[in-house]
Symmetry: C2
Protein backbone atom coordinates (compact mmCIF):
# COMPACT_ATOMS: atom_id res chain seq x y z
CA UNK A 1 0.00 0.00 0.00
CA UNK A 2 1.02 3.64 -0.42
CA UNK A 3 1.97 5.53 2.71
CA UNK A 4 3.49 8.90 3.75
CA UNK A 5 6.38 8.24 6.09
CA UNK A 6 8.31 10.52 8.45
CA UNK A 7 12.04 9.91 8.36
CA UNK A 8 13.80 12.98 9.67
CA UNK A 9 12.92 16.56 10.57
CA UNK A 10 13.00 19.22 7.89
CA UNK A 11 12.50 16.85 4.99
CA UNK A 12 9.23 16.21 3.20
CA UNK A 13 7.36 13.05 4.11
CA UNK A 14 8.40 10.16 1.91
CA UNK A 15 5.71 8.63 -0.31
CA UNK A 16 6.51 4.96 -0.40
CA UNK A 17 5.13 1.44 -0.64
CA UNK A 18 4.54 -0.45 2.56
CA UNK A 19 3.38 -3.94 3.39
CA UNK A 20 -0.28 -4.04 4.28
CA UNK A 21 -0.61 -4.94 7.97
CA UNK A 22 -2.55 -7.96 9.19
CA UNK A 23 -4.98 -7.10 12.02
CA UNK A 24 -3.97 -8.65 15.34
CA UNK A 25 -6.52 -10.09 17.76
CA UNK A 26 -8.82 -7.27 18.84
CA UNK A 27 -7.89 -5.11 15.85
CA UNK A 28 -9.83 -4.08 12.78
CA UNK A 29 -8.22 -3.59 9.37
CA UNK A 30 -9.58 -0.45 7.74
CA UNK A 31 -9.27 0.49 4.07
CA UNK A 32 -8.91 4.27 4.41
CA UNK A 33 -11.04 6.59 2.28
CA UNK A 34 -9.76 9.86 3.71
CA UNK A 35 -7.33 11.20 6.28
CA UNK A 36 -6.99 14.68 7.80
CA UNK A 37 -4.06 16.82 8.84
CA UNK A 38 -3.47 18.21 12.29
CA UNK A 39 -1.00 20.86 13.35
CA UNK A 40 0.89 18.09 15.11
CA UNK A 41 1.74 16.58 11.71
CA UNK A 42 3.38 19.83 10.69
CA UNK A 43 5.29 20.08 13.99
CA UNK A 44 6.59 16.56 13.53
CA UNK A 45 7.99 17.46 10.10
CA UNK A 46 9.74 20.39 11.80
CA UNK A 47 11.19 18.17 14.52
CA UNK A 48 9.14 20.04 17.12
CA UNK A 49 7.48 17.10 18.79
CA UNK A 50 8.74 14.88 21.59
CA UNK A 51 9.77 11.27 21.04
CA UNK A 52 10.29 11.39 17.27
CA UNK A 53 11.09 8.11 15.51
CA UNK A 54 11.92 7.65 11.87
CA UNK A 55 10.13 5.36 9.41
CA UNK A 56 6.70 6.00 10.91
CA UNK A 57 3.57 6.52 8.81
CA UNK A 58 2.20 9.94 9.71
CA UNK A 59 -1.38 11.01 10.39
CA UNK A 60 -3.88 10.76 13.24
CA UNK A 61 -7.25 11.22 11.60
CA UNK A 62 -8.87 8.76 9.27
CA UNK A 63 -12.12 7.26 8.01
CA UNK A 64 -12.73 4.18 5.91
CA UNK A 65 -14.30 0.75 5.55
CA UNK A 66 -13.56 -2.27 7.73
CA UNK A 67 -12.14 -4.98 5.45
CA UNK A 68 -10.79 -7.55 7.86
CA UNK A 69 -10.95 -8.40 11.55
CA UNK A 70 -8.34 -9.89 13.87
CA UNK A 71 -10.92 -11.70 16.03
CA UNK A 72 -13.94 -13.56 14.71
CA UNK A 73 -16.17 -11.98 17.38
CA UNK A 74 -15.65 -8.66 15.57
CA UNK A 75 -16.99 -10.01 12.27
CA UNK A 76 -20.06 -7.73 12.55
CA UNK A 77 -17.74 -4.84 11.75
CA UNK A 78 -16.92 -6.15 8.27
CA UNK A 79 -18.02 -3.71 5.58
CA UNK A 80 -18.92 -0.98 8.09
CA UNK A 81 -18.11 2.65 7.33
CA UNK A 82 -16.11 3.90 10.29
CA UNK A 83 -14.04 6.70 11.77
CA UNK A 84 -11.08 6.20 14.06
CA UNK A 85 -10.46 7.63 17.54
CA UNK A 86 -6.69 8.22 17.29
CA UNK A 87 -6.11 8.20 21.07
CA UNK A 88 -4.55 5.06 22.53
CA UNK A 89 -4.11 4.13 26.20
CA UNK A 90 -5.85 7.16 27.71
CA UNK A 91 -6.38 5.15 30.88
CA UNK A 92 -9.15 5.08 33.48
CA UNK A 93 -8.95 8.63 34.82
CA UNK A 94 -11.32 10.93 32.95
CA UNK A 95 -9.47 13.97 34.32
CA UNK A 96 -6.20 13.28 32.54
CA UNK A 97 -4.51 10.90 30.13
CA UNK A 98 -2.13 8.24 31.45
CA UNK A 99 1.61 8.45 30.79
CA UNK A 100 1.14 5.69 28.18
CA UNK A 101 -1.26 7.81 26.14
CA UNK A 102 -0.31 8.52 22.55
CA UNK A 103 -2.07 9.10 19.27
CA UNK A 104 -1.78 7.48 15.88
CA UNK A 105 1.01 8.78 13.68
CA UNK A 106 3.91 8.89 16.16
CA UNK A 107 5.39 6.68 17.47
CA UNK A 108 2.81 4.26 16.01
CA UNK A 109 1.96 4.12 12.28
CA UNK A 110 -0.89 6.47 11.37
CA UNK A 111 -3.53 7.24 8.80
CA UNK A 112 -1.60 8.80 5.89
CA UNK A 113 -1.82 5.47 4.07
CA UNK A 114 -4.23 3.33 2.14
CA UNK A 115 -5.02 1.18 5.15
CA UNK A 116 -4.47 0.81 8.89
CA UNK A 117 -5.14 -1.72 11.64
CA UNK A 118 -6.35 -0.31 14.97
CA UNK A 119 -7.91 -1.71 18.16
CA UNK A 120 -11.64 -2.27 17.82
CA UNK A 121 -12.32 0.06 20.76
CA UNK A 122 -10.90 2.91 18.68
CA UNK A 123 -13.36 2.34 15.85
CA UNK A 124 -16.77 4.04 15.65
CA UNK A 125 -19.50 4.08 13.03
CA UNK A 126 -19.16 7.05 10.70
CA UNK A 127 -21.98 9.55 11.25
CA UNK A 128 -24.16 8.96 8.22
CA UNK A 129 -24.63 12.66 7.44
CA UNK A 130 -20.89 13.08 6.79
CA UNK A 131 -19.06 12.23 3.59
CA UNK A 132 -15.63 10.61 3.79
CA UNK A 133 -13.69 13.83 3.86
CA UNK A 134 -15.89 15.43 6.48
CA UNK A 135 -15.74 12.24 8.56
CA UNK A 136 -11.94 12.11 8.42
CA UNK A 137 -11.84 15.76 9.54
CA UNK A 138 -13.74 14.99 12.71
CA UNK A 139 -11.75 12.84 15.17
CA UNK A 140 -8.88 14.78 16.74
CA UNK A 141 -10.20 18.31 16.28
CA UNK A 142 -13.68 17.14 17.26
CA UNK A 143 -12.69 15.39 20.46
CA UNK A 144 -10.29 18.19 21.46
CA UNK A 145 -12.94 20.85 20.88
CA UNK A 146 -15.65 18.82 22.57
CA UNK A 147 -13.55 18.18 25.67
CA UNK A 148 -12.60 21.87 25.81
CA UNK A 149 -16.26 22.85 25.59
CA UNK A 150 -17.17 20.23 28.20
CA UNK A 151 -14.45 21.28 30.64
CA UNK A 152 -15.54 24.87 30.09
CA UNK A 153 -19.10 23.77 30.99
CA UNK A 154 -20.63 25.79 28.18
CA UNK A 155 -24.37 26.42 28.39
CA UNK A 156 -26.91 28.47 26.48
CA UNK A 157 -26.34 31.25 29.04
CA UNK A 158 -22.70 31.71 28.07
CA UNK A 159 -21.09 34.27 25.84
CA UNK A 160 -18.07 32.39 24.49
CA UNK A 161 -15.01 33.93 22.87
CA UNK A 162 -13.12 31.53 20.60
CA UNK A 163 -9.67 32.74 19.58
CA UNK A 164 -7.98 31.98 16.27
CA UNK A 165 -11.05 30.91 14.34
CA UNK A 166 -10.23 28.88 11.27
CA UNK A 167 -8.12 26.37 13.16
CA UNK A 168 -9.62 22.89 13.21
CA UNK A 169 -10.29 22.82 16.95
CA UNK A 170 -11.53 26.41 17.11
CA UNK A 171 -13.92 25.82 14.21
CA UNK A 172 -15.33 22.63 15.73
CA UNK A 173 -15.66 24.44 19.08
CA UNK A 174 -17.64 27.17 17.32
CA UNK A 175 -20.06 24.56 15.98
CA UNK A 176 -20.50 22.84 19.34
CA UNK A 177 -21.06 26.14 21.16
CA UNK A 178 -23.56 27.36 18.57
CA UNK A 179 -25.38 24.00 18.74
CA UNK A 180 -25.57 24.27 22.53
CA UNK A 181 -27.16 27.70 22.22
CA UNK A 182 -24.30 29.90 23.44
CA UNK A 183 -23.58 33.32 22.00
CA UNK A 184 -20.24 32.97 20.22
CA UNK A 185 -17.66 35.63 19.41
CA UNK A 186 -14.44 34.85 17.55
CA UNK A 187 -11.05 36.38 16.86
CA UNK A 188 -8.83 36.11 13.83
CA UNK A 189 -6.24 38.06 11.91
CA UNK A 190 -8.38 37.63 8.81
CA UNK A 191 -11.66 39.44 7.99
CA UNK A 192 -12.54 36.56 5.63
CA UNK A 193 -12.31 34.00 8.44
CA UNK A 194 -14.48 36.17 10.66
CA UNK A 195 -17.04 36.39 7.88
CA UNK A 196 -17.08 32.60 7.54
CA UNK A 197 -17.47 32.21 11.29
CA UNK A 198 -20.48 34.51 11.27
CA UNK A 199 -21.98 32.38 8.48
CA UNK A 200 -21.54 29.39 10.81
CA UNK A 201 -23.43 31.08 13.64
CA UNK A 202 -20.93 33.35 15.39
CA UNK A 203 -22.47 36.64 16.52
CA UNK A 204 -19.40 38.71 15.66
CA UNK A 205 -15.65 38.63 15.28
CA UNK A 206 -12.67 40.78 16.19
CA UNK A 207 -9.36 41.28 14.45
CA UNK A 208 -6.83 40.59 17.18
CA UNK A 209 -4.29 42.57 15.19
CA UNK A 210 -6.26 45.75 16.03
CA UNK A 211 -5.05 47.35 19.26
CA UNK A 212 -7.69 47.56 21.96
CA UNK A 213 -10.02 44.97 20.48
CA UNK A 214 -10.39 43.36 23.92
CA UNK A 215 -12.15 46.44 25.30
CA UNK A 216 -14.63 46.52 22.44
CA UNK A 217 -15.77 42.94 23.04
CA UNK A 218 -17.55 43.48 26.35
CA UNK A 219 -18.65 46.98 25.43
CA UNK A 220 -20.41 45.72 22.33
CA UNK A 221 -21.50 42.21 23.35
CA UNK A 222 -21.55 42.11 27.15
CA UNK A 223 -19.46 40.04 29.57
CA UNK A 224 -17.59 37.03 28.16
CA UNK A 225 -18.14 34.13 30.54
CA UNK A 226 -16.04 31.55 28.69
CA UNK A 227 -12.93 31.82 26.52
CA UNK A 228 -11.61 28.94 24.41
CA UNK A 229 -8.00 29.59 23.46
CA UNK A 230 -5.37 27.54 21.68
CA UNK A 231 -2.81 30.32 21.32
CA UNK A 232 -1.55 31.52 24.70
CA UNK A 233 1.40 33.81 24.08
CA UNK A 234 1.43 37.57 24.59
CA UNK A 235 -2.31 37.80 23.94
CA UNK A 236 -3.12 35.70 26.98
CA UNK A 237 -2.83 38.67 29.33
CA UNK A 238 -5.59 40.49 27.44
CA UNK A 239 -7.83 37.42 27.61
CA UNK A 240 -7.70 37.44 31.42
CA UNK A 241 -8.63 41.13 31.36
CA UNK A 242 -11.45 40.48 28.95
CA UNK A 243 -12.92 37.51 30.82
CA UNK A 244 -15.96 38.36 32.90
CA UNK A 245 -15.64 38.06 36.68
CA UNK A 246 -16.33 34.43 37.58
CA UNK A 247 -15.41 33.40 34.05
CA UNK A 248 -13.51 30.44 32.65
CA UNK A 249 -10.56 30.42 30.28
CA UNK A 250 -9.97 27.03 28.65
CA UNK A 251 -6.64 26.39 26.90
CA UNK A 252 -6.10 23.51 24.52
CA UNK A 253 -2.81 24.78 23.15
CA UNK A 254 -0.21 27.51 23.09
CA UNK A 255 0.73 27.98 19.44
CA UNK A 256 1.91 31.52 20.29
CA UNK A 257 4.09 30.22 23.13
CA UNK A 258 3.97 30.56 26.90
CA UNK A 259 2.67 33.87 28.27
CA UNK A 260 5.49 35.83 29.89
CA UNK A 261 3.33 36.93 32.82
CA UNK A 262 0.38 35.69 34.82
CA UNK A 263 -1.67 38.34 36.58
CA UNK A 264 -2.67 36.21 39.55
CA UNK A 265 -4.27 39.24 41.22
CA UNK A 266 -6.77 39.27 38.38
CA UNK A 267 -7.22 35.51 38.64
CA UNK A 268 -8.15 35.48 42.31
CA UNK A 269 -9.98 38.81 42.49
CA UNK A 270 -12.12 37.96 39.44
CA UNK A 271 -12.41 34.36 40.67
CA UNK A 272 -11.39 33.04 37.27
CA UNK A 273 -10.82 29.40 36.41
CA UNK A 274 -7.99 28.68 33.96
CA UNK A 275 -8.57 25.21 32.62
CA UNK A 276 -6.10 23.16 30.63
CA UNK A 277 -7.29 20.45 28.29
CA UNK A 278 -5.82 18.33 25.53
CA UNK A 279 -7.40 15.84 23.15
CA UNK A 280 -9.85 13.55 24.93
CA UNK A 281 -10.73 10.15 26.34
CA UNK A 282 -12.82 7.45 24.72
CA UNK A 283 -15.76 8.74 26.76
CA UNK A 284 -15.19 12.24 25.36
CA UNK A 285 -15.01 10.77 21.87
CA UNK A 286 -18.33 8.97 22.23
CA UNK A 287 -20.00 12.05 23.71
CA UNK A 288 -18.57 14.14 20.88
CA UNK A 289 -20.03 11.75 18.29
CA UNK A 290 -23.41 11.84 20.04
CA UNK A 291 -23.39 15.64 19.89
CA UNK A 292 -22.37 15.60 16.22
CA UNK A 293 -25.25 13.22 15.45
CA UNK A 294 -27.80 15.10 17.54
CA UNK A 295 -27.11 18.47 15.97
CA UNK A 296 -26.07 17.09 12.56
CA UNK A 297 -22.80 18.98 12.84
CA UNK A 298 -20.55 18.95 9.77
CA UNK A 299 -16.83 19.70 10.19
CA UNK A 300 -15.53 22.44 7.90
CA UNK A 301 -13.20 21.10 5.24
CA UNK A 302 -10.87 23.77 3.86
CA UNK A 303 -9.19 21.89 1.04
CA UNK A 304 -8.68 18.34 -0.09
CA UNK A 305 -5.36 17.01 -1.37
CA UNK A 306 -4.48 13.53 -2.55
CA UNK A 307 -2.35 11.25 -0.38
CA UNK A 308 0.42 11.63 -2.96
CA UNK A 309 0.43 15.42 -2.48
CA UNK A 310 0.56 15.33 1.33
CA UNK A 311 3.63 17.56 1.36
CA UNK A 312 1.70 20.28 -0.46
CA UNK A 313 -1.04 19.85 2.11
CA UNK A 314 1.52 20.38 4.90
CA UNK A 315 2.76 23.52 3.16
CA UNK A 316 -0.80 24.79 2.97
CA UNK A 317 -1.13 24.18 6.71
CA UNK A 318 2.03 26.21 7.30
CA UNK A 319 0.45 29.18 5.51
CA UNK A 320 -2.25 29.25 8.23
CA UNK A 321 -4.72 30.55 5.67
CA UNK A 322 -7.12 27.64 6.04
CA UNK A 323 -10.58 27.67 7.54
CA UNK A 324 -11.30 24.23 8.90
CA UNK A 325 -9.51 21.04 8.14
CA UNK A 326 -7.08 20.05 5.41
CA UNK A 327 -7.98 16.60 4.18
CA UNK A 328 -6.31 13.88 2.13
CA UNK A 329 -8.49 11.85 -0.19
CA UNK A 330 -7.16 8.30 -0.29
CA UNK A 331 -7.70 5.96 -3.21
CA UNK B 1 -16.07 54.33 72.50
CA UNK B 2 -12.40 53.67 71.77
CA UNK B 3 -11.47 52.94 68.16
CA UNK B 4 -8.37 52.51 65.98
CA UNK B 5 -8.65 54.79 62.98
CA UNK B 6 -6.76 54.92 59.67
CA UNK B 7 -5.85 58.44 58.62
CA UNK B 8 -3.00 58.27 56.17
CA UNK B 9 -0.56 55.68 54.86
CA UNK B 10 2.67 55.10 56.72
CA UNK B 11 1.45 56.37 60.06
CA UNK B 12 0.27 54.23 62.96
CA UNK B 13 -3.45 53.87 63.43
CA UNK B 14 -4.82 56.57 65.72
CA UNK B 15 -6.39 55.40 68.98
CA UNK B 16 -9.22 57.81 69.58
CA UNK B 17 -12.69 58.27 71.03
CA UNK B 18 -15.64 57.93 68.71
CA UNK B 19 -19.37 58.35 69.08
CA UNK B 20 -21.11 55.05 69.53
CA UNK B 21 -23.27 54.38 66.47
CA UNK B 22 -27.01 53.81 66.66
CA UNK B 23 -28.15 50.74 64.72
CA UNK B 24 -30.23 51.60 61.67
CA UNK B 25 -33.26 49.54 60.63
CA UNK B 26 -32.03 46.03 59.81
CA UNK B 27 -28.81 46.48 61.78
CA UNK B 28 -27.59 45.00 65.03
CA UNK B 29 -25.40 46.89 67.48
CA UNK B 30 -22.65 44.63 68.78
CA UNK B 31 -20.47 45.27 71.85
CA UNK B 32 -17.18 43.76 70.61
CA UNK B 33 -15.23 41.33 72.78
CA UNK B 34 -12.43 40.62 70.33
CA UNK B 35 -11.24 41.56 66.86
CA UNK B 36 -8.63 39.93 64.62
CA UNK B 37 -6.05 41.26 62.20
CA UNK B 38 -5.80 40.39 58.54
CA UNK B 39 -2.96 41.07 56.17
CA UNK B 40 -5.25 43.59 54.51
CA UNK B 41 -5.08 45.75 57.65
CA UNK B 42 -1.32 45.91 57.33
CA UNK B 43 -1.52 46.73 53.61
CA UNK B 44 -3.93 49.56 54.33
CA UNK B 45 -1.45 51.11 56.79
CA UNK B 46 1.14 50.90 54.02
CA UNK B 47 -1.15 52.60 51.50
CA UNK B 48 -1.18 49.40 49.44
CA UNK B 49 -4.91 48.97 49.11
CA UNK B 50 -7.32 50.45 46.58
CA UNK B 51 -9.86 53.14 47.51
CA UNK B 52 -8.28 54.33 50.75
CA UNK B 53 -10.23 56.89 52.79
CA UNK B 54 -9.07 58.61 55.95
CA UNK B 55 -10.88 58.65 59.30
CA UNK B 56 -12.10 55.06 58.96
CA UNK B 57 -12.11 52.56 61.83
CA UNK B 58 -9.95 49.62 60.73
CA UNK B 59 -10.59 45.90 61.11
CA UNK B 60 -12.71 43.24 59.41
CA UNK B 61 -13.01 40.46 61.97
CA UNK B 62 -14.94 40.70 65.19
CA UNK B 63 -17.02 38.85 67.76
CA UNK B 64 -19.19 40.19 70.55
CA UNK B 65 -22.62 40.49 72.14
CA UNK B 66 -25.71 42.05 70.56
CA UNK B 67 -26.72 45.01 72.73
CA UNK B 68 -29.26 46.83 70.59
CA UNK B 69 -31.32 46.28 67.47
CA UNK B 70 -32.42 48.71 64.77
CA UNK B 71 -35.67 46.85 64.06
CA UNK B 72 -37.97 45.40 66.69
CA UNK B 73 -38.34 42.16 64.69
CA UNK B 74 -34.67 41.48 65.45
CA UNK B 75 -35.20 41.65 69.21
CA UNK B 76 -34.48 37.91 69.54
CA UNK B 77 -30.85 38.75 68.83
CA UNK B 78 -30.48 40.81 72.03
CA UNK B 79 -27.86 39.31 74.35
CA UNK B 80 -26.69 36.76 71.78
CA UNK B 81 -22.99 35.93 71.41
CA UNK B 82 -22.17 36.46 67.77
CA UNK B 83 -19.51 36.66 65.09
CA UNK B 84 -19.60 38.94 62.09
CA UNK B 85 -19.34 38.07 58.40
CA UNK B 86 -17.33 41.09 57.22
CA UNK B 87 -18.43 40.78 53.57
CA UNK B 88 -21.06 43.26 52.36
CA UNK B 89 -22.94 43.26 49.04
CA UNK B 90 -21.48 40.03 47.64
CA UNK B 91 -24.50 39.83 45.33
CA UNK B 92 -26.49 36.92 43.95
CA UNK B 93 -23.82 35.17 41.88
CA UNK B 94 -22.06 32.47 43.91
CA UNK B 95 -19.22 32.36 41.35
CA UNK B 96 -18.00 35.88 42.00
CA UNK B 97 -18.59 38.97 44.14
CA UNK B 98 -20.44 41.95 42.68
CA UNK B 99 -18.64 45.21 41.99
CA UNK B 100 -20.32 46.65 45.11
CA UNK B 101 -18.69 44.05 47.35
CA UNK B 102 -16.50 45.31 50.16
CA UNK B 103 -15.53 44.24 53.63
CA UNK B 104 -15.67 45.98 56.97
CA UNK B 105 -12.75 48.26 57.76
CA UNK B 106 -12.43 50.18 54.48
CA UNK B 107 -14.23 52.20 53.25
CA UNK B 108 -16.79 51.39 55.99
CA UNK B 109 -15.96 51.51 59.71
CA UNK B 110 -14.67 48.19 61.02
CA UNK B 111 -14.11 46.10 64.11
CA UNK B 112 -11.06 47.69 65.79
CA UNK B 113 -13.40 49.41 68.24
CA UNK B 114 -15.49 48.73 71.29
CA UNK B 115 -18.66 48.38 69.25
CA UNK B 116 -20.04 48.22 65.72
CA UNK B 117 -23.41 48.20 63.97
CA UNK B 118 -23.78 45.81 61.06
CA UNK B 119 -26.65 44.41 58.96
CA UNK B 120 -28.42 41.53 60.68
CA UNK B 121 -27.67 39.23 57.71
CA UNK B 122 -23.96 39.60 58.51
CA UNK B 123 -24.41 38.35 62.07
CA UNK B 124 -24.12 34.67 63.06
CA UNK B 125 -24.22 32.87 66.38
CA UNK B 126 -20.74 32.30 67.75
CA UNK B 127 -19.81 28.61 67.66
CA UNK B 128 -20.11 27.65 71.33
CA UNK B 129 -16.82 25.71 71.41
CA UNK B 130 -14.85 28.89 70.63
CA UNK B 131 -13.80 31.55 73.11
CA UNK B 132 -13.99 35.21 72.11
CA UNK B 133 -10.51 35.39 70.69
CA UNK B 134 -10.85 32.19 68.70
CA UNK B 135 -14.25 33.33 67.43
CA UNK B 136 -12.89 36.69 66.28
CA UNK B 137 -10.09 34.88 64.46
CA UNK B 138 -12.54 32.91 62.36
CA UNK B 139 -14.50 35.07 59.89
CA UNK B 140 -12.29 36.32 57.06
CA UNK B 141 -9.58 33.66 57.17
CA UNK B 142 -12.22 30.99 57.73
CA UNK B 143 -14.45 31.95 54.83
CA UNK B 144 -11.48 32.52 52.49
CA UNK B 145 -9.98 29.14 53.36
CA UNK B 146 -13.30 27.37 53.17
CA UNK B 147 -14.15 28.80 49.76
CA UNK B 148 -10.66 27.89 48.51
CA UNK B 149 -11.12 24.33 49.77
CA UNK B 150 -14.60 24.18 48.25
CA UNK B 151 -13.52 25.52 44.85
CA UNK B 152 -10.64 23.05 44.97
CA UNK B 153 -13.23 20.30 45.61
CA UNK B 154 -11.08 18.66 48.27
CA UNK B 155 -12.00 15.11 49.22
CA UNK B 156 -10.51 12.38 51.40
CA UNK B 157 -8.79 11.05 48.25
CA UNK B 158 -6.71 14.19 47.81
CA UNK B 159 -3.14 14.88 48.72
CA UNK B 160 -3.17 18.64 49.33
CA UNK B 161 -0.15 20.92 49.43
CA UNK B 162 -0.74 24.15 51.36
CA UNK B 163 1.93 26.79 50.85
CA UNK B 164 3.04 29.32 53.47
CA UNK B 165 1.65 27.58 56.50
CA UNK B 166 1.26 29.88 59.49
CA UNK B 167 -0.77 32.43 57.57
CA UNK B 168 -4.34 32.75 58.78
CA UNK B 169 -5.95 31.38 55.62
CA UNK B 170 -3.37 28.62 55.12
CA UNK B 171 -3.76 27.47 58.71
CA UNK B 172 -7.56 27.37 58.50
CA UNK B 173 -7.28 25.54 55.16
CA UNK B 174 -5.05 22.96 56.87
CA UNK B 175 -7.73 22.35 59.48
CA UNK B 176 -10.54 22.05 56.93
CA UNK B 177 -8.53 19.65 54.75
CA UNK B 178 -7.52 17.50 57.71
CA UNK B 179 -11.15 17.44 58.91
CA UNK B 180 -12.29 16.33 55.45
CA UNK B 181 -9.81 13.45 55.54
CA UNK B 182 -7.27 14.62 52.97
CA UNK B 183 -3.55 14.01 53.31
CA UNK B 184 -2.01 17.43 53.86
CA UNK B 185 1.52 18.61 53.13
CA UNK B 186 2.69 22.14 53.90
CA UNK B 187 5.49 24.53 53.02
CA UNK B 188 7.12 27.22 55.09
CA UNK B 189 10.42 28.98 55.54
CA UNK B 190 10.33 28.01 59.20
CA UNK B 191 10.94 24.54 60.70
CA UNK B 192 8.95 25.60 63.76
CA UNK B 193 5.86 26.36 61.67
CA UNK B 194 6.16 23.01 59.92
CA UNK B 195 6.36 21.32 63.29
CA UNK B 196 3.20 23.08 64.44
CA UNK B 197 1.42 22.12 61.21
CA UNK B 198 2.30 18.47 61.79
CA UNK B 199 0.86 18.75 65.30
CA UNK B 200 -2.36 19.99 63.67
CA UNK B 201 -2.57 16.97 61.38
CA UNK B 202 -0.28 17.72 58.42
CA UNK B 203 1.59 14.64 57.22
CA UNK B 204 4.81 16.52 56.51
CA UNK B 205 6.26 19.87 55.57
CA UNK B 206 8.92 21.26 53.25
CA UNK B 207 11.18 24.26 53.60
CA UNK B 208 10.59 26.15 50.38
CA UNK B 209 13.92 27.87 50.89
CA UNK B 210 15.64 24.54 50.13
CA UNK B 211 16.37 24.15 46.41
CA UNK B 212 14.63 21.20 44.79
CA UNK B 213 12.04 20.70 47.54
CA UNK B 214 9.34 20.36 44.85
CA UNK B 215 10.86 17.15 43.53
CA UNK B 216 10.99 15.59 46.98
CA UNK B 217 7.27 16.11 47.59
CA UNK B 218 5.93 13.61 45.05
CA UNK B 219 8.86 11.25 45.54
CA UNK B 220 8.19 10.99 49.24
CA UNK B 221 4.42 11.44 49.44
CA UNK B 222 2.99 10.63 46.00
CA UNK B 223 1.14 12.84 43.53
CA UNK B 224 -0.27 16.13 44.82
CA UNK B 225 -3.79 16.47 43.46
CA UNK B 226 -4.58 19.85 44.98
CA UNK B 227 -2.45 22.88 45.83
CA UNK B 228 -3.72 25.80 47.92
CA UNK B 229 -1.50 28.82 47.40
CA UNK B 230 -1.67 32.41 48.58
CA UNK B 231 1.80 33.42 47.42
CA UNK B 232 2.15 33.21 43.64
CA UNK B 233 5.43 34.86 42.68
CA UNK B 234 8.52 33.06 41.42
CA UNK B 235 7.54 29.86 43.25
CA UNK B 236 4.39 29.46 41.19
CA UNK B 237 6.23 27.85 38.32
CA UNK B 238 7.42 25.04 40.59
CA UNK B 239 3.90 24.48 41.88
CA UNK B 240 2.64 23.76 38.35
CA UNK B 241 5.50 21.28 37.92
CA UNK B 242 4.73 19.68 41.22
CA UNK B 243 0.97 19.36 40.66
CA UNK B 244 -0.16 15.90 39.63
CA UNK B 245 -1.60 15.48 36.13
CA UNK B 246 -5.29 16.36 36.34
CA UNK B 247 -4.62 18.39 39.48
CA UNK B 248 -5.97 21.69 40.72
CA UNK B 249 -4.08 24.76 41.89
CA UNK B 250 -6.21 27.18 43.89
CA UNK B 251 -4.93 30.71 44.48
CA UNK B 252 -6.39 33.00 47.11
CA UNK B 253 -3.62 35.58 46.95
CA UNK B 254 -0.28 36.58 45.53
CA UNK B 255 1.75 37.95 48.43
CA UNK B 256 4.94 37.16 46.48
CA UNK B 257 3.65 39.02 43.41
CA UNK B 258 2.60 37.95 39.94
CA UNK B 259 4.51 35.02 38.42
CA UNK B 260 6.69 36.18 35.54
CA UNK B 261 5.81 33.19 33.38
CA UNK B 262 2.96 30.78 32.84
CA UNK B 263 3.88 27.41 31.36
CA UNK B 264 0.64 26.89 29.45
CA UNK B 265 2.09 23.76 27.82
CA UNK B 266 2.16 22.21 31.27
CA UNK B 267 -1.34 23.48 32.01
CA UNK B 268 -2.98 21.90 28.98
CA UNK B 269 -0.86 18.77 28.72
CA UNK B 270 -1.34 17.97 32.42
CA UNK B 271 -4.97 19.10 32.17
CA UNK B 272 -4.55 21.32 35.22
CA UNK B 273 -7.17 23.66 36.59
CA UNK B 274 -5.90 26.96 38.01
CA UNK B 275 -8.64 28.35 40.17
CA UNK B 276 -8.80 31.85 41.59
CA UNK B 277 -10.77 32.58 44.74
CA UNK B 278 -11.10 35.42 47.20
CA UNK B 279 -13.02 35.72 50.46
CA UNK B 280 -16.52 34.27 50.16
CA UNK B 281 -20.26 34.78 49.92
CA UNK B 282 -22.81 34.56 52.68
CA UNK B 283 -23.49 30.99 51.56
CA UNK B 284 -19.78 30.18 51.87
CA UNK B 285 -19.79 31.76 55.34
CA UNK B 286 -22.70 29.64 56.52
CA UNK B 287 -21.17 26.47 55.07
CA UNK B 288 -17.86 27.35 56.72
CA UNK B 289 -19.58 27.75 60.09
CA UNK B 290 -21.37 24.42 59.64
CA UNK B 291 -18.02 22.73 58.96
CA UNK B 292 -16.41 24.42 61.98
CA UNK B 293 -19.28 23.20 64.16
CA UNK B 294 -19.34 19.67 62.74
CA UNK B 295 -15.63 19.08 63.20
CA UNK B 296 -15.27 21.35 66.24
CA UNK B 297 -12.51 23.25 64.48
CA UNK B 298 -10.66 25.85 66.53
CA UNK B 299 -8.76 28.63 64.72
CA UNK B 300 -5.14 28.97 65.77
CA UNK B 301 -4.52 32.19 67.69
CA UNK B 302 -0.90 33.28 67.58
CA UNK B 303 -0.93 36.19 70.01
CA UNK B 304 -3.41 38.51 71.62
CA UNK B 305 -2.88 42.26 71.95
CA UNK B 306 -5.17 44.85 73.47
CA UNK B 307 -7.09 47.26 71.25
CA UNK B 308 -4.84 50.05 72.58
CA UNK B 309 -1.73 48.22 71.33
CA UNK B 310 -3.07 47.55 67.82
CA UNK B 311 0.00 49.18 66.26
CA UNK B 312 2.25 46.65 68.00
CA UNK B 313 -0.02 43.93 66.66
CA UNK B 314 0.44 45.30 63.13
CA UNK B 315 4.21 45.30 63.63
CA UNK B 316 4.04 41.70 64.76
CA UNK B 317 2.14 40.87 61.57
CA UNK B 318 4.85 42.56 59.53
CA UNK B 319 7.43 40.21 61.05
CA UNK B 320 5.57 37.27 59.45
CA UNK B 321 6.65 35.10 62.36
CA UNK B 322 3.12 34.27 63.49
CA UNK B 323 1.36 30.94 63.26
CA UNK B 324 -2.35 31.60 63.00
CA UNK B 325 -4.19 34.78 63.80
CA UNK B 326 -3.21 37.90 65.67
CA UNK B 327 -6.09 38.97 67.85
CA UNK B 328 -7.13 42.11 69.74
CA UNK B 329 -8.91 41.64 73.04
CA UNK B 330 -11.45 44.44 73.45
CA UNK B 331 -12.70 45.67 76.79
Amino acid sequence: MRAAVFNEPGLPLELTDREVSTPQAGELFIRLKAAALNRRDYWITQGMYPGLKSDVIQGSDGAGIVEAVGSTEDADWLGKEVIINPGLNWGEDQEVQSTGFHILGMPQDGTFAQAISVPVENVFLKPSHLDWQEASALPLAGVTAFRAVTRGQVTAHDTVLITGIGGGVATMALKFCVALGAKVLVTSSSPEKIEKAVELGATAGFLYSEAGWEKRVSREYGPVSLILDGAGGPGYFGLLQLAAPGGRVVNYGATAGAPDKLDLFKVFWKQLRLIGTTMGSSVDFQNMLACVEEFQIVPSVDTTFSLETVNQALQHMQSASQFGKIVLAVE
